[in-house]
């Protein structure tokens, strides 16, 4: 019973982080049509910049605010100078270009902060453990479980109720028509990429207190968020949420029923979904 609870909570907290990363990836794909291989590196950059800002301001909360915003600057430059050139071009060019950015960011971080790992403490308010149904559980992870749905709900309302959100959705449906009715599509693209970067970097900053920071931390999460996005359906918002929860829970329970082979579970899930429902769980077929 307690094992069930602990694994569920672990799965949920990891799933919520995965959701934050994946929702940015899927939004960028939905609007810009680019699958960003460097998305995990933006996640990593968010974590490092948060750490740096924390040292500067001596506050986790300011780090959480400032770090991801600095990453957004990098994201905007990346969109303006690089991605812009490959819209509508072959998938291999897009993947390779964003892969090149991944190499630059990962090694760049290694040059600045070194290849050793760094540790960030959670803020005093969220440190320590709390009793959940008689079980001690880290407060910080419970905080993550709450923050995920909160940001998800905010995003959903943004896309459905605000003028900007509706404009973005219009541009993703038909960018030529959107341009025709006077929407500044290039601006929308930059804004969406900035939003995606912010979500990834925020995920990184939130992940910082619960995992150690290493330059390769983006590589694991990029593949997992690819899996989440494909499982949920490319460009689908609820899909990213469901996919992230599914993957998070599968992984936390995986060691129990698959032993050493639990590492293979995400890929097995990816392959099965692609074979049975190539367009993901939450997207209708073409």
């Amino acid at each position: 019973m307690e094992y069930l609870l602990l694994n569920t909570l672990n799965g949920l907290s990891w799933g919520m982080l995965l959701f934050l990363i994946s929702v940015g990836l899927t939004t960028v794909f939905g609007v810009l049509g680019v699958l960003n291989f460097a998305h995990g590196s933006l996640f990593m950059l968010g974590a490092y910049l948060c750490m740096q800002a924390m040292q500067y301001f001596d506050s986790f909360w300011l780090g959480l605010l400032v770090g991801p915003l600095c990453a957004v600057v990098v994201g905007v430059l990346m969109e303006k100078f690089l991605l812009k050139q490959v819209y509508g071009r072959d998938v291999s060019f897009q993947l390779l270009l964003t892969f090149a950015v991944l190499l630059i960011l990962d090694d760049g971080v290694r040059m600045i902060w070194g290849s050793g790992y760094h540790v960030v403490d959670p803020p005093v308010l969220l440190s320590g453990v709390m009793s959940v149904a008689g079980q001690d559980y880290p407060v910080y992870r419970l905080f993550l479980i709450l923050v995920g749905p909160l940001i998800g709900a905010l995003l959903w309302s943004f896309f459905h109720f605000t003028r900007w959100g509706k404009t973005i959705r219009a541009a993703s449906f038909d960018n030529i028509m959107a341009e025709g009715v006077g929407i500044n599509v290039p601006l929308i693209y930059t804004a969406v990429f900035a939003l995606g970067t912010w979500l990834a970097a925020l995920g990184g900053a939130l992940a910082a207190p619960q995992q150690s920071l290493v330059p390769s931390m983006g590589e694991k999460i990029i593949i997992e968020s690819f899996i989440v996005v494909v499982v949920g359906g490319l460009g689908s918002f609820p899909g990213a949420f469901a996919g992230a929860l599914l993957l998070g829970l599968l992984e936390s329970f995986g060691t129990e029923f698959a032993g050493r082979m639990q590492m293979a579970i995400p890929y097995l899930l990816l392959a099965v979904i692609l074979l049975v429902r190539p367009h993901g769980l939450f997207k209708k077929g073409v």
Binding site: L35, L82, Q85, V86, V91, S92, F93, L95, L96, L97, F99, A100, V101, L102, L103, I104, D106, D107, G108, R110, M111, E219, I223, F226, I227, V230, L234, R260, M261, M263, A264, P266, Y267, L268, L270, A271, L274, L275, P278
Partner: protein, 319 residues
């Protein structure tokens, strides 16, 4: 037209002569680098049968490289050192592996194809990484013996870097030759048609799925050959061969060299390794600079460096 034909033939012949003469003039260190370029070049050219010819971006090519390498390592560890046995067993296993993965993967296109091959590749990686009794886990399988070749009663071994180089050179040239024949055959032409428009191929009676599986297995089998050679060269098979970051290498090499020319990926491999050697002379952060070099290549050389040069100087028709 005549001059064109002569250029077409003269280039490869000159290249082969240079490759055979290379160990006589360049230092051992570079003979080793050249060996690695040839092996990865073979992998990249076989990979390009999918990307450049058939229009399929595979991100799991490392799986077949690894299958070849592990087969060779297991055979060598078990005391079988017959070169032909090792080469054909490695290719056979890679063939079977690519037949299975291909069967499931080729029904998908574009990004979905890239994702499913990535998934299968990582599945193989997980198996190699965790099945310690057979694969040695993350330590990999070391090989302490070198294959032997019985040639007209002479027992040849490949312990020196130069003899190893010639073994690799001959095997890679045979592999490239076979691939070249395949690419120029009517089958190769159909693959290009598939890349351009698979609906039309299917309308005129082509079985798209079967053709794609054929391309996938041919590509996988020759990648397996590259894997066998690398295991023998490196005296090691490691799970890293099957990781997606290794599968990204032939993609990078093909795009650097040019996916539109048969030998483009081989030159891409050469550029990749020489670049790496130059960069590590003055910094250990070579990935950073690889990224910096890749960006303009992707943006401004859509036909790759080799493809663009050929196009510019010889008005070579790009496929």
């Amino acid at each position: 037209m005549k001059i064109q034909a002569r250029i077409n033939l003269a280039g490869p012949i000159l290249l082969v002569l240079l490759l055979f003469a290379a160990p006589l003039v360049i230092p051992i260190y570079w003979v080793m680098i050249l060996s690695e370029i040839l092996i990865m070049g073979l992998m990249a050219v076989s990979f390009n049968l999918l990307l450049g010819y058939t229009g399929l971006l595979s991100f799991g090519q490392g799986a077949f490289f690894g299958l070849g390498a592990y087969t060779a390592a297991l055979l060598l560890q078990a005391g079988h050192d017959n070169l032909f046995l090792i080469l054909s067993a490695g290719m056979l296993v890679a063939f079977l592996g690519s037949l299975v993965i291909g069967f499931f993967s080729v029904r998908l296109d574009e990004i979905f194809f890239a994702m499913i091959t990535l998934g299968f590749g990582m599945l193989f990686f997980s198996i190699a990484h965790n099945w310690r009794d057979v694969t040695g886990g993350s330590d990999g399988l070391p090989v302490f013996s070198s294959p032997t070749l019985n040639l007209f009663g002479n027992q040849l071994t490949f312990y020196t870097p130069n003899s190893m180089y010639y073994l690799i050179l001959v095997s890679v040239l045979v592999g490239l030759g076979l691939l070249r024949v395949i690419v120029q055959s009517p089958f190769g032409l159909i693959l290009k048609a598939l890349r351009e428009n698979k609906q039309r191929v299917s309308f005129v009676g082509g079985n798209v799925k079967r053709l794609r599986i054929a391309a996938f297995t041919i590509s996988g089998t020759f990648t397996g050959l590259a894997g066998v050679l690398f295991c023998v060269f490196n005296t090691m098979a490691t799970p890293g061969f099957m990781h997606w970051s290794f599968s990204a290498k032939p993609v990078i090499m093909s795009v650097i060299g040019g996916t539109g020319v048969f030998l483009g990926p081989l030159f891409g491999a050469g550029i990749f390794f020489v670049l790496e050697q130059i960069i590590i002379q003055f910094t250990e952060n070579w990935m950073f600079f690889l990224g910096v070099v890749l960006v303009p290549i992707v943006l401004f050389f859509p036909e790759g460096v080799f493809g663009t040069l050929l196009n510019k100087f010889f008005k070579q028709e790009i496929k």
